[in-house]
Symmetry: C2
Subunit: 174 residues, 2 copies
């Protein structure tokens, strides 16, 4: 059985949407996904809000009830039948987010056992056949095949194969 | 540069000693390391205490100021010069322990960057040349070389190479 490692933020979870919603809630300004193209959310907010926004992922409610990407539940269940699935998320930069991320994953994907959840930093430590991720940097030293999941940050980056949504993940793997 | 992945509990950290100390503190009974041979700590305490002992690793103070293994600081610093080091600890079974384990690692081994800390379950996901661990099970699907670190649980298990302490780790790798 081939193994697929799957990133969490911006692949499973719509974390940009969460940033946008919280930013609007706190500062009554709406940032669009178009504005995020090739940029990090923290780089486009007003400088005086940057520190507060940087703290969002450390806040308990941030991951709770965060939306999943479209079509994901069905595709993940189907992938689970044919592949060994691991969730591999770069969580170590924000250690206070660890338990919240874990709880979100258990809630959204209860069929993924705790043994197949990995919190890491440098993803070259991951041993898998495929890695679905929105950061090309993680593919550089990865020994399997990197599959780039489109996010505003990577739209102008060159990588093949690229998938734009979970329907395309299904087409590639099922 | 070759990569060594290193387990935390019973390899870096003397967690059995912590269990013994806390058990004595709470129930005024001393359990020896000899009693722990081939057994899990939770299996040898009085049945009525089992549930309380099971919760120790979830408790904030459990990892804080936990002792490291003998000779480790010097050997780890020397290994760090010659190898790429990752800490790979099976933490996912106890998600509330994640942040405490992280803080302990940062305190004890500040030279290990956050990017090289991995919290996982099934260690077959680890891509490294060597894995130093006290659980033989983790070597079964590991693609590198497993190095068994002696703990009371594994003294009668057959595996080669085996290291009994950090001086022997130094001898093997330096």
């Amino acid at each position: 059985m081939k193994r697929i490692a799957i990133d969490m933020d911006e692949v499973l979870a719509d974390s940009n949407q969460r940033f946008m919603d919280w930013y609007e809630r706190d500062y009554e300004k709406r940032i669009s996904k178009e504005q995020l193209i090739s940029k990090d959310f923290r780089d486009i907010v007003s400088p005086e809000h940057r520190e507060a926004v940087r703290k969002y992922p450390h806040t308990e409610g941030f991951f709770k009830e965060m939306a999943v990407m479209q079509d994901i539940q069905k595709v993940m269940s189907q992938l689970f039948e044919k592949y060994e699935l691991f969730i591999t998320t770069a969580a170590m930069e924000f250690p206070t987010s660890l338990v919240h991320k874990y709880e979100w994953l258990k809630q959204q994907f209860p069929f993924i056992p705790w043994s197949n959840i990995v919190f890491c930093g440098d993803k070259s430590i991951i041993h898998a056949d495929y890695l679905i991720d929105d950061h090309i940097e993680h593919f550089r030293k990865f020994t399997g095949q990197g599959v780039l999941f489109t996010s505003p940050l990577n739209v102008y980056k060159k990588w093949s194969p690229r998938v734009n949504n979970w329907k395309e993940v299904a087409k590639l793997f099922l």
